[in-house]
Structure formats: C-alpha cells, structure tokens
Point group: C2
Chain length 216, copies 2
C-alpha cells in the first residue's frame, strides 16, 4: 500500500484506504491500543491527512463502525430471498452472516468488541444494527410459527426471547469460527441452524424440555 | 448511604461500599461517562478516599469486574449438583446464571459491556471468566452426548461450537430479560433450555435440520 501514488487519488478512494487500514488496526489492537501512526502508515498516507479527512481517532472509529455495520446488515439482507419458506430464509440469513464475518474478521472484531460498550458516542450505531437484525430474526420465527401446523401462535414474548437467543448465539459463534482453524461459514451456519431450528420445531410441536416438577 | 458513619468502619466494609457504588454507576453510565464524584457520593465517602483505597478509575473498574466475574462463576458453580444427569445440570446452571444476572443487573451490565473490549488491561479478567463457563458447558454437552443412546460421540468441534452458541445465547438473553419487564429468571432459563436441549437432542438423534442439497 505504501507504494501507491496518493497525490492523484480521488478523495473517496483515499478515504476508503484509510478506513480499510483503520478497521484492520482497530480490529487487531482494540480501540485504545490502536495508534494513528500505524493506521496512517498502513494506509500509505501521512497522519495529518488522516486527521484532515476523518477529524479524530474517535470519529475515525465511528466511521469504521458505521461502514462495517452497514455492510454486514446489507450482506444479510441481500443474502435472503423473501419468497422462500421461513426455515430457508433463516438458513440463508445465517449463511450470509457467517460468510460476511469470515470474510471480514477485522470488521467483525471491531463491531463485536464495541457492541456492548455503552456510554460511548458510537454505541448507538452498533445497537441500531443489532436491533435491525433481531427484528429480522423475530419476523422469521413468527412466520415459522404460523407455517407450523400445531401451534400457530407462539407467545410474542417467547418469539422475542428466541430471537435474542439466536442472535447472541450467532455473535458468539462468529467470533469462535474466526479464531478456530478449519471452521467454515457453512459449518457455523449449519451448527446454529440445527440447534435453533430443531429447538424451535420441538417447541412448536410440544416436544420441548420439561422443567422438573415441584421445583422452587 | 450518605447517612452512615464512615469513620469507624473497617477497611473491608468501606471498600465493599465503594465497589457497590462503582458497579452501580459503571453499570448504568458506562466506563467513560461514569464519574468518580458520583461514585464517592453514592458510597458516602470522599473522593480522595476512593483514590486512596482503589488507586484510579481504571483500577476501581478492574476491581469491579473481578468481583462481579468471581461472584457470577461461583453462583453458577454452586447452583449445579454434579451428581445429576447432564440435562438437569444444564438446567440448574442456566437457572443459577439467570437468577444471578437478574439479581445483579448492574454487575451484569458491567461484565457484558466490557466482555468484548479487547486491548484493555481488564479484558483478560472477563475473558478468563467466560472461558471457564464455556468449558463447563462444553463438558455438560459432551456428557449429554455420552448419555444419549444413538450417537455417543458428537465430534469435538461440534460440541465446542454448541457450547459457544449456548453461552452467547445466554449472554444475549440475560441482557434482554433484565430490560424486559416481567421476564423471570426461570422463564429465561426455560426458553434457552428448550431451545438448546431440543436442538441438541435432535442432533444426537439425527433429526437435525438438513441444508438444501446442491447448494453452493
């Protein structure tokens, strides 16, 4: 990257190079340990130019979060064909999610490392992305319940809880898949789909796990 | 709290009051927005005393994380009777987990908000706690697979993936349960147990979801 001629590049291209470098450094070092010097060097530009374009370390990080969150939600949305049955939609959504997080491990690391850090100016960005994904999964589970024969209406709260559980499981699995050699996006999606769909099917068909009677 | 006589208190009691106050403020405001003034006021002590006892905001936060992580893992460990079958152990572990996070919402918020923030001096504390819980769940799933009739040996990687998924689902559900009025610890545990156990049962019995053939 250091060899490219930066002088003649359009601003958008340069900015993209800076964001690429920033995502990589933030993803590997964490927000605090990341250095603007290293980011500028990796982007092949001067540090003052990074500040000129992105203003501050915090604004640069916020720009990274926004770009990565937008790309991930778009990948999931575009990976799903809405005319398919709910289980196929969920499968395609999971595959798109794990494929994207596997292809963008630094981006996922940035999103995941900051996903819960509240009280920060950029936390709202990530929270909004997660809410969109939870809402999408909630709709799919509700549709699945309608498509099922026995119990067409899972209680709304049960559906919301399942969606939260599924999204949390996917977040955890994506980080694990990215740090475990040889786990493919398809395998991660299949593990979770098996887990989720079978559990959901058991619930719908009244085959769920029954808590022991007489417990406090 | 402001009315207590602080002069005659043993150091351990005063330190506990400071940590109680710090967990509450960190849990509600986040690390950066939390103010040492507010923490000292809530603890009913002077700000210099907080610094004298806990050294710095960062050290105070690390002490909070360590205390809350230790309390949570102890609650889960003590909630499980190791002589029971694996499904009962998992059920009891989940109940203990959700009961503890419901009783200590600020502590959970502190743990969860920082659980992924890497590159920070305190990140290792939380990572170690999570690894202990993942290892515990992994053992239970492996035992469950052995106790099952058909497929006594789930592949090791499948077991590890399921444990990661289950822990991620529990983390996500605990935060949801704490912010959704009327969701009890028992309901949260039952939702996840149903989801997890049925899915695991389906896997063991070869009733898992089958990806569409011929897909890329």
């Amino acid at each position: 990257m250091g060899a490219v001629k930066t002088k003649r590049m359009p601003r958008a291209v340069r900015e993209r190079q800076m964001l690429d470098a920033a995502v990589r450094i933030f993803g590997r070092r964490g927000y605090r340990a990341a250095s603007m010097d290293e980011i500028a060097e990796l982007a092949g530009v001067s540090k003052p130019l990074v500040y000129l374009y992105l203003n501050s370390k915090e604004d640069l990080f916020t720009a990274c979060l926004r770009r990565e969150a937008t790309a991930l939600t778009r990948a999931v949305r575009e990976g799903v064909r809405p005319d398919l049955p709910a289980d196929r939609q969920l499968w395609e959504g999971l595959r798109a999610f794990f494929a994207h997080t596997a292809e963008h491990p630094d981006g996922w690391s940035v999103l995941r490392s900051q996903a819960r850090t509240h009280g920060e100016p950029f936390a709202a960005e990530v929270a909004a992305m997660r809410e969109e994904i939870v809402a999408f999964v909630t709709r799919l589970i509700a549709v699945a319940a309608r498509e099922a024969h026995r119990d067409p209406d899972l209680p709304e709260r049960e559906v919301a809880g399942l969606a939260e559980a599924l999204v949390g499981a996917a977040e955890s699995l994506a980080a694990w898949a990215n740090t475990t050699p040889g786990v493919t996006a398809r395998q991660a999606a299949a593990t979770l789909m098996n887990f989720a769909w079978s559990g959901l099917g058991a619930l719908r068909e009244g085959r769920g796990w029954v808590p022991p009677a007489g417990e406090g």
